[in-house]
Symmetry: C2
Subunit: 192 residues, 2 copies
């Protein structure tokens, strides 16, 4: 089950076989059923999670009870609530499986030790987190500035493979538009 992670490491990092083996040796394999939570609002995020296969969403609940989705996480990507993980504070957000999902997880103590011992992992982590700031900034700009139509078109361009795997109300909750608006946009595109 860990071989997907090893392939990922070979193609995305400069880690040696021995280093990858060391990282894998402290990983805790797990799986989530559909709708099962990896993290719930109020809990402390105690693991860094790599997704071998599946689909998760990170979301928050607004004052009126509506759900807004910050992030979808799929095969060969990482997820966590960074603030809760680093500060060991109660998370403001939830991470829940949309499909059955296979993961590898590391406790913070184990992962911190790996970061100290393996400079190539440290460099890769820094690259990942830096990239997270770019994509976050881009997402913020789109959320602030784009029309609902532009937001949907941007989503289709960015995540073509997710379209068929997500219920419409989750796409709407990611774009910050109503389900009614999203349905109207899709309808008008079909008839264009």
């Amino acid at each position: 089950m860990t071989s997907g992670f090893e392939i990922y490491c070979h193609s995305h990092t400069n880690l040696s076989d021995e280093e990858i083996e060391r990282i894998v040796s402290t990983a805790i394999p797990g799986s989530l059923q559909r709708n099962e939570s990896l993290l719930q609002q109020g809990q402390v995020c105690r693991h860094k999670t790599f997704i071998l296969k599946g689909l998760l969403r990170t979301y928050g609940i607004a004052e009126d009870g509506s759900e807004y989705i910050l992030q979808f996480s799929t095969d060969n990507s990482w997820t966590l609530d960074a603030e809760s993980y680093h500060l060991q504070s109660a998370s403001q957000f939830n991470i829940t499986a949309i499909e059955r999902t296979e993961v590898l997880q590391w406790t913070r103590a184990d992962f911190d030790r790996l970061l100290t011992d393996i400079p190539a992992l440290n460099i890769y982590s820094l690259q990942l987190i830096t990239r997270t700031t770019y994509t976050g900034r881009q997402r913020l700009f789109t959320t602030l500035s784009a029309s609902p139509e532009e937001k949907y078109e941007d989503f289709v361009r960015t995540y073509p493979d997710l379209l068929a795997r997500l219920p419409l109300h989750m796409i709407a909750a990611y774009l910050g538009i109503s389900l009614k608006t999203l349905t109207r946009i899709r309808h008008s595109q079909l008839h264009r």
Copy 2:
């Protein structure tokens, strides 16, 4: 002029006096007049910038020509377009002075050398960038989920010292609401 930076380093980092001196020795001091640009869309971001005193905004221009503000940066904070700086690619965003602003700047080559040579600077940089991901996620959630009234109240709570320094149209461009809506909200609060 660099003493403000030294005080900042003493209170925010574990850098030694010698390390701070080394960092200061490669800094390029500069100043920007009101409305002068630190970075323009299409340019490559070639410096990391520390703001000694002043106020800058980072903004993008939407397809319809409107400005949307991603970030205000004031005394004792850092600013750059991380994507453009790291990838040496054309920036999608602009950074411009709202007030006369005094800065220290480092070229990427100089700063990379400092990061390699000074582990405490590396650790601090990683903390800063990690914190950027939290605040970015929080900002995204507010932008997606909050009503215009809640967005304004959140801004007042988070940046009380900026309120009097910013023209209203910039606050509106930061919140992603129209100037008309912002004026209505402020008017109704005054009469509450």
